[in-house]
C-alpha cells in the first residue's frame, strides 16, 4: 500500500499513540494515507475505535513480530 507518511509510535504508551496519530492526520490532505507502527497493546482496540469516532477510514491492519501496523485514510 502506498503510504503518504509513516508514523513510528513504537514504545509509546497510551494515550500517546492515538494523540500522535491524530496530530499527523490533522496535517494530511483528504485521501492521503498514514501508516502507523505501534507496540502498545491498548492501541489494537483504541486506534480502530478512534478511526470510527473521527470518521477516518481504517484501510488495513497487520501484526508483525509484536509490532502492530495500521493504515488510515484521511477523511
Amino acid at each position: 500500500m502506498e503510504s503518504t507518511k509513516i508514523l513510528d509510535a513504537k514504545g509509546l504508551a497510551c494515550p500517546m499513540p492515538v494523540v500522535k496519530v491524530k496530530k499527523e492526520m490533522d496535517q494530511l490532505n483528504e485521501g492521503e494515507i498514514l501508516e502507523v507502527h505501534v507496540t502498545d497493546k491498548g492501541a489494537k482496540a483504541d486506534l480502530p475505535a478512534w478511526a470510527k469516532s473521527s470518521g477516518n477510514e481504517l484501510l488495513q491492519d497487520a501484526e508483525e513480530d509484536g509490532i502492530l501496523k495500521f493504515w488510515f485514510k484521511k477523511a
Binding site: 497510551c14 491524530k22 497493546k41 475505535a49 469516532s53
Partner: protein
Amino acid sequence: MSLKPMTAKELGKMVINREEIFILDVRNTDAFDDWKVEGEGVEIINKPYFDLIDGVDDIVGQLPEDKPLLVVCAKEGSSQFVAEQIVEATGRDTHYLVGGMKTWSEHLEPVKLGDLKDGGELYQFVRLGKGCLSYLVASDGEAAIIDSARTIEPYNEFLAEHNLTLKHVIDTHLHADHISGGRKLREKHGASYWLPPKDAEEVTFDFKPLEDGNDIKVGQTKVAIHPIYSPGHTIGSTSMVIDDQYLISGDILFVDSIGRPDLAGKAEDWVSDLRNSLYSIYAGLSGELYVLPAHFGKHEELDAQGRVMEKLSVLFEKNHGLNINDEEEFRKTVTEDLPPQPNAYQEIRQTNMGKINPDAEEQTEMEIGPNRCAVSG
C-alpha cells in the same frame, strides 16, 4: 485544587461503604460496555480519551460538582491525560485510578464473615473488579485458602498480619475465568494443594485429592472442611462444608444465579450432573448453612458490610435456578442464550493445569473482564 491519585484500595473502600463517587471512564466504548466499575454509590459515564484530545469542554458540563470525581482508563496513562485537562479547565480536584482497570481487576478486599465454633474465623476476599470470591479459614495459628486469586500478595499480607501459617490451599474446581494462585501459594508457604481429582487429570504438578470423606483440618481446634462432590460446572466441582455452618459452593450455586456447565465445552454432558448437585445433593443439606459462592454477578449481592453470603434455605426460595421444576426447561436455561464466555477461558484452563506458562503481563491480559461463570447475572 489538583490532580490526585486514587488507589484501588481507596476505591474499594468507597464501593463497599456505598459512598458516592462520579466516574468518568475514558476507555473505548467496547471495553466499557464489556466491563466497568460498579457499586451502589457509583455513577459512571463513558467518553473515550481519544475524543478528548482537543479538550474536555464537551464533558465538563456533565460532571456533577457535589461528588468526588475519578477518571479511569485501562492502565493509567489516559486517565491522567484527561484528568489533567479537567483540572486545567475547571480547577476542581480530579482523581485518576492508579494502575487503571488492570489494577482494579486484581484488587482484593478482605471482609470477616464470622467466628467459627472453636475460636477460628472465616474471611471472604472480595475481588470487586472481577466478581471473584475467595476464602480464608483461620484457626489456632493455621490457615487454609480456598479458590485463591492469581495475585497472592493480599493473602501474604493478611497471613503475616494475623500471624497465620498457611497449611492448605484448596480449589473447588479447575477455574476457567481466573488463574489460580494455588501453586504460587503452595511454593511460598509449603502448604498442601488440594484439587478435585476429576478436574486434575491433565495437570502437570502434584496435588492432594479433594474428595468426599477426606476431611481437611485447620488448627488444633478441629475446624473441619468437609468436601462434597457436586459436579456440573466442571466434572470435578467439589463443594465444602466448613464448621457445620458454611457451604462453599464454588461455581455450582451463586446468591443470584447458578453455575454454567459449558466452559469446558461439555454443556450437554454436564447438565444432569448440575441438576443433580443442586436439586438432590444441595437439597439434602441443612437449610441453615450459609452459602459462600466463588463469584458474585451484581454489586447488589454485596451486603452493607461488603459480604456475599446467603442461607441455603433462602436461596431455595428465591434463586430462580433452584426453582425450575421442568428438566427440559432447566437444560435450556443452562445451555442456551448464555452470556459470552470469560475472556481467554481456554488459555486460563491450560494455565491452571500447568500446561502453559504465560508471563505476568500476559496473565493480567487474560484475566481482564468479568468472570461470567453464572448462567445469568
